[in-house]
Amino acid sequence: MKEDRFEYSGHLVFSIFNLRLKNKDFSDGISIIFNELPEYEEGNPDNPGEGYLELEIREFAEKEEKLPHWMLDEIDNWINIQYKWESYEVQEAFIEGDQFEVKIPSTNSVDIFFHPSGYALFRGTQSAIHRATSRIEQAAAGEMMLDKVNLNIPKLIKNINSESDREHKLTFEGATNASFRALDAYTDQISLSGSDVLSDSIVGEAQNKGQIIQLNGIFNFDEYSVTSGVEQDKIYLKSSRDLRDLPSASRIVLSILFTFEVLEIQSDSSGGKNND
């Protein structure tokens, strides 16, 4: 039976990967996943369930009627799945005074969003994401690789500031703080306020101290204001400001599109996705 509501668990933290394929295009690559991974079905201790489920977030977001049409159209370009698997933990239990071994099931999952440009966003804990990427690569039998993206945060800041041929929907309202890894590998934080963080001199100063590894701030995305943190290989959004008022599917859609916008702006002018 189909669910009539979309719910998600966990945080809105997206780990970012590049989907690399050997002599195949995007749709062939996605076909590999659908053909080689089983569709998820509930299992049992002898045969734990494992596989993918298609996430129909567009349909749910449309029903929620909170997002503009362009966002719903945009999310249509994405392939959205959930990789899910069961594990059973053996525990001892006493039933009417007798000791038995029982197998307690637990279910883990990772939400995965693929964009034709080659980006793949994974939402889940790091250990679950590790399992999901390994399983997908294993199923693809060496024809596909998921490479972690290494975001260039100074470049992102520069590109948000600069005039670009590509009209982007993201502006910076203000920063809350930024972390940088100093040249001696000691990690420190600098507190920032307002739009000061975007000035070249402050970015330059931070870069002189070391490498900027995280930027937290408030962004304006289209008509929405969101609090987000950009790290080298992940982007997270807090459920505050405009995101708090949105129902689940709309929240996910907005978060995916926001994340993609950050990636696009960051790779702008480089002629492709940054992976250095």
Binding site: Q138, G229, Y236, R251
Partner: protein, 213 residues
């Protein structure tokens, strides 16, 4: 000048030249047996074979070889694994990052990956390096490169096994790197609730104070 000498030495090192040397040595032995009284002929062949062997030995000893290092991209790969060069393969999959340093004298190379286990190798190389049948081929004069190796196996067929992955320089015939692949049927479990804040950061687990949505 040094580079030219290295290039000459590198040619001497090639399997073809080594083969020629072997033939000369066998011929010398034959001449020695067939013409025991032909002193000049015998001496010439002996000197030639000794010189050839000596040149190859010197060349092999003094010319630097390709240097390779590797590291597994996994949260379960630790310093002990690195020290022993044993790479765990969980659930039929492992991803290994490798780095090769090419000596100056080598203007082209072929690195063959030889695997004695039930795995499939898939290599992901930079565009200027081609790969075919588990062999990396480069005809450009490069100093170094990074590449990724995927190790893939059918989980049901693997069980707990260990096998070797050896990297050979096809031009010199030398083994340049070797690792062991250790297939595991169970993935280690991590109880994220029991991790310290530091460990959570290391594992990339978002701490609650970040309060993402």
């Amino acid at each position: 000048m040094t580079r030219r000498i290295e290039k000459i030495a590198s040619r001497i090192q090639s399997p073809r030249i080594s083969g020629v040397t072997l033939v000369i040595t066998i011929l010398s032995a034959a001449v020695f047996l067939i013409f025991p009284t032909q002193y000049v002929l015998r001496s010439a062949f002996v000197i030639l074979s000794v010189f050839s062997l000596f040149t190859i030995l010197i060349a092999r000893k003094f010319l630097p070889e390709i240097k390779m290092s590797s590291l597994q991209e996994s949260q379960f790969f630790d310093i002990e694994n690195y020290h022993n060069q044993v790479y765990p393969v969980y659930l039929g999959h492992a991803k290994i990052e490798a780095y090769a340093e090419i000596p100056n004298w080598m203007t082209e190379f072929e690195i063959e990956m030889e695997l004695d286990g039930p795995f499939k190798i898939s290599e992901w190389t930079p565009s200027h390096i081609s790969s075919s049948d588990n062999t990396l081929i480069c005809k450009n004069d490069i100093d170094d490169f990074k590449f990724t190796i995927q190790i893939i196996g059918e989980e049901d067929e693997l069980g707990d096994t260990t096998c070797n992955l050896i990297f050979n320089n096809n031009k010199t015939g030398n083994e340049i790197h070797a690792i062991k692949l250790n297939s595991k049927s169970e993935l280690p479990t991590i109880d994220e609730d029991k991790l310290t804040e530091e460990e959570k950061n290391e594992w990339g687990i978002t701490s609650p104070d970040q309060q993402p949505g």
